[in-house]
């Protein structure tokens, strides 16, 4: 997409999901907000759905990442295999460096 924000993260980077609760059409599940995961891949750049939902152009397009979380980080007391993961698609404007 011509009008796209440049990617800030690469595969393997640790990222934290913003612990924000903005109103409107948001595609970031609550259950990962504020938590740290690792970038699994970059999927390309897509118009921001939070803008598209209100008939705005959603540009610049946001890089979209697949971020891998340990299930045990998402769910305190997770009782199944500690190596289980949940992979979630997240737009760049929801991610911060986790160091």
């Amino acid at each position: 997409m011509a009008d796209a924000a440049p990617p800030r993260f690469g595969v393997g980077d640790r990222v934290r999901v913003r612990a924000a609760t903005p109103p409107g059409h948001v595609r970031t599940p609550y259950y990962c907000r504020g938590l740290v995961g690792v970038v699994e891949r970059l999927c390309g750049a897509f118009a921001n759905p939070e803008e598209l939902a209100y008939n705005r152009p959603g540009l610049p397009a946001q890089p979209l990442y697949r971020v891998r979380f340990k299930a045990s980080d998402l769910w305190p007391g997770y009782a199944e295999n500690p190596e289980d993961v949940v992979e979630i698609e997240l737009y760049q404007h929801w991610l911060e460096e986790a160091g």
Partner: protein, 363 residues
């Protein structure tokens, strides 16, 4: 087929009424026509998971194709001539160490361009909320028990990607053609809640059906089936006809000419004659037509019709609940309807009909 076929005044719920109102407005404003809607619905209903199964079978026999598929699922679909439009497909591969399962916790995102319409349970809140936090418990309810050492990767399709699982090729399929391999791949295997059918168990998968009916997982399965299946108590009518060629065709043709819609129909020998069972959509219409056609019908009796998403063990839970209640099923038939759906009919003694209706929460 579409909502306009539902009679005015039927309770359609708020969102269905809203959808119908918006559709009517868009048609009135000339944004699209009713024929466009029909065409799109037909196109959507014509796509089935068999398209995904073809890709899996190709990947099983062609490692270069598999490698391309794991990099770019959409391009791999197009390579087999499967048009997927704007779908951005990510294919995730099962291995001996890791099993993949797909969900959309936010709504019901599903690779419809490739797999068709998602099953009801995929869109249900219990599946969406539970599979991310207790995947093994949910998979066990589908009859899939994975060794504890296998890592589970749950993929939440929250944004622009859509997902399909590439299952592992079943053992004992060396030398099989792609077409035959594709026949082992089920819709649920492509979502990751099941494994492909095993050739060595082709008559099997039965051990699962024998599971104790009051186990916790089968109770949960009950909830799932209650969402997926529609069970109705309907009137059926019996006609005796000579056991000769053409009797079924004659009756069906006459009823068609009278515009009588049947939900189920069966015929079988009965003494020296043949018996035909008719389950009409509208009993009054059938009775009127039969009178006109001088077709002698028995009195209305009750039968039960089940419709739902086709899956391994589709009728197991319903029959299991009848077994648990010690209700004897007089007769039953089930058949896949294609397009991922199945239908079944069963009959019980008249004295048990009310009990069955209550037990299965038949509306």
């Amino acid at each position: 087929m579409n909502d306009r076929a539902i009679p005015v005044g039927a309770d359609r719920g708020y969102y269905r009424r809203m959808q119908a109102a918006v559709e009517e407005l868009l048609i009135l404003k000339g944004v699209f026509t009713a024929a466009d809607v029909t065409r799109q619905v037909e196109a959507m209903e014509s796509r089935s998971y068999e398209r995904g199964a073809r890709m899996v079978a190709r990947a099983w026999v062609d490692t270069a194709y598999k490698a391309r598929m794991l990099v770019d699922g959409s391009a791999a679909a197009e390579e087999l001539g499967l048009q997927v439009g704007p779908l951005r497909l990510v294919v995730v591969e099962n291995t001996p160490e890791a099993h993949n399962v797909i969900v959309c916790t936010l709504c019901s995102c599903y690779p419809r361009m490739l797999l068709g319409i998602p099953p009801e349970w995929y869109k249900s809140r219990p599946y969406r909320s539970r599979v991310v936090r207790e995947p093994r418990v949910v998979l066990a309810e589908f009859g899939l028990r994975l060794p504890d050492r296998v890592r589970i990767r749950v993929h939440d399709s929250t944004a622009d990607m859509r997902y399909m699982v590439l299952p592992m090729r079943p053992a004992d399929t060396e030398g099989w053609s792609e077409e035959r391999l594709a026949g082992l791949v089920t819709r649920d295997a492509l979502i990751g809640v099941a494994l492909p059918a095993q050739p060595s168990h082709s008559r099997g998968l039965r051990p699962r059906e024998g599971r104790a009916i009051d186990s916790p997982s089968s109770r949960a399965l009950t909830r799932r089936n209650a969402m997926a299946d529609t069970i109705r108590r309907l009137d059926y009518f019996v006609a005796q006809v000579p056991d000769q060629p053409g009797q079924g065709a004659r009756i069906l043709e006459a009823l068609r000419n009278e515009g009588v819609n049947l939900l189920a129909f069966s015929g079988f020998p009965s003494g020296k004659k043949a018996q035909i069972d008719l389950v009409p959509e509208d009993p009054a219409a059938l009775k009127a037509a039969a009178k006109k056609l001088k077709l002698k019908l028995g009195p209305a009796k009750a039968c039960f019709v089940v419709q739902g998403d086709d899956r391994v063990g589709a009728l197991t839970d319903t029959l299991g609940r009848l077994a648990e209640a010690k209700i004897n099923v007089t007769a039953t038939q089930a058949v896949t309807a294609g397009m991922g759906r199945f239908g079944a009919i069963f009959w019980v003694k008249p004295r048990d009909a009310a009990k069955v209706a209550k037990l299965l929460a038949v509306g």
